[in-house]
């Protein structure tokens, strides 16, 4: 699964760097963080942010800073909320995309944000990120 998610980040990088203004890298990093809840998410956020800034002729490092803060905030609320859920990924994508468009100035902000929200839901379902519930209590019986 981790390899698929890394490939998703790479494809998103190429698409966002060449033909679209949608924050696909941000979305793929969100999915990566929710599916793989370890420190490798930070490394991915750092590297993809640096490459994205070079692609898009931005001051290098600003995307990394944004991605890292988002992933850290998700990590903070991991224990309090069920982050691996369709509702959470859609809400997180809506909020983070909206802020991303405001920070990195883009036209048609609301339409793009709504599109990203539905895309995140679609990817969540397609990639089947939801982990099966543990059967621990059943086995004890």
């Amino acid at each position: 699964m981790q390899k698929i998610l890394i490939a998703l980040v790479v494809v998103s990088l190429i698409l966002e760097g060449s033909i679209t203004s949608l924050p696909l890298v941000l979305l793929s990093l969100l999915i990566f963080r929710i599916a793989v809840s370890d420190n490798s998410g930070f490394l991915m956020a750092f590297l993809s942010g640096i490459i994205l800034d070079i692609f898009l002729v931005r001051p290098v490092g600003q995307s990394s800073i944004y991605f890292l803060i988002i992933l850290f905030l998700i990590g903070m609320y991991e224990k309090k909320f069920e982050v691996n859920s369709l509702l959470f990924i859609m809400l997180a994508t809506f909020t983070t995309s909206l802020v991303y468009f405001l920070v990195f100035t883009s036209p048609s902000i609301l339409i793009q944000t709504i599109f990203m929200t539905f895309l995140s839901g679609f990817l969540y379902v397609v990639l089947r990120l939801k982990k099966p519930k543990k059967q621990a209590s059943v086995s004890h019986l």
Binding site: S18, V57, G61, I65
Partner: protein
């Protein structure tokens, strides 16, 4: 324990990002980024050429694609070269601006919501400071102004298109010589604003740059076509009249453009 590990990793990468951000603003940092750009430009160019090729509807080419996969790549390469040659021929056939000051560049990235459907407001080209491109240089196609360079890195540059919100240039109409300001309004729309009521604006008239050259010689020269007037809004109660302007060039179907270099 795990929580502290996460915090350490986060702080480490955040600090590193801030350091790189600050370093990238220095001249040494810019040079280093330039080296990285040598690696990223071909990748971006390849990705964009795949998109540009699929965006160009060539039925003959597509039927050949189905017949032979090997032949496909050769035809794609040939067509790309042919388009480039045609663009060069068209450009150098025009008399204005001076041919010796033009540099052909390729689009390697565009920032559009849905590629091919919505219009981009900025594009990225495969040439930069090392090729002689400077900020505020005009980008043209034939005798149409496409935009201007806003950021020039060592090997790539960012272009603001004429219809980007915030883009403005003094302009006049070709038939009636009415003076105004051409302002980008997003999504391929341009407004010719600040035209006094006594002047005449005619539907179908061409809007041409009046010229906006900086003291260092860079900027948008006069006589370039911005677009055609599609509608006029004139009210006696208003101080000025305005007109909607439609660009003559569809940027989504172009791959080669020209940057007007500063004369030596």
């Amino acid at each position: 324990m795990r929580r502290s590990n996460i915090a350490i990793s986060f702080v480490f990468f955040l600090f590193l990002s801030f350091f790189i951000y600050a370093f990238s603003l220095t001249s040494l940092g810019q040079s280093l980024i330039g080296i990285f750009e040598l690696g990223t430009v071909p990748l971006q160019k390849t990705a964009f050429s795949v998109y540009a090729e699929s965006n160009t509807k060539l039925s003959e080419l597509q039927s050949l694609k189905n017949q032979n996969a090997d032949l496909e790549s050769q035809i794609v390469t040939y067509k790309e070269q042919d388009k480039e040659i045609q663009a060069l021929r068209d450009q150098f056939a025009t008399t204005s601006p001076s041919q010796s000051l033009l540099m052909p560049v390729h689009i390697i990235g565009l920032k559009a919501f849905i590629p091919g459907v919505s219009l981009p407001e900025q594009i990225i080209i495969d040439k930069g400071k090392k090729d002689g491109i400077r900020s505020s240089a005009a980008v043209i196609y034939k005798n149409n102004v496409i935009g201007k360079v806003v950021v020039a890195n060592d090997h790539i540059s960012l272009i603001d298109l004429v219809f980007k919100k915030g883009f403005s240039v003094t302009a006049n109409t070709s038939k009636t010589n009415s003076l105004g300001i051409s302002k980008g309004n997003g999504q391929g729309n341009i407004i010719l604003d600040n035209v006094v009521l006594s002047d005449s604006l005619v539907k179908g008239d061409l809007v041409i740059t009046k010229g906006s050259i900086d003291t260092d010689g860079s900027g948008i020269p006069p006589g370039l076509v911005i677009g055609k007037i599609t509608s006029v809004d004139k009210k006696a109660s208003n101080l000025f009249q305005t007109a909607q302007v439609q660009p003559l060039v569809d940027i989504t179907h172009l791959t080669t453009l020209f940057v007007l270099l500063k004369p030596e």
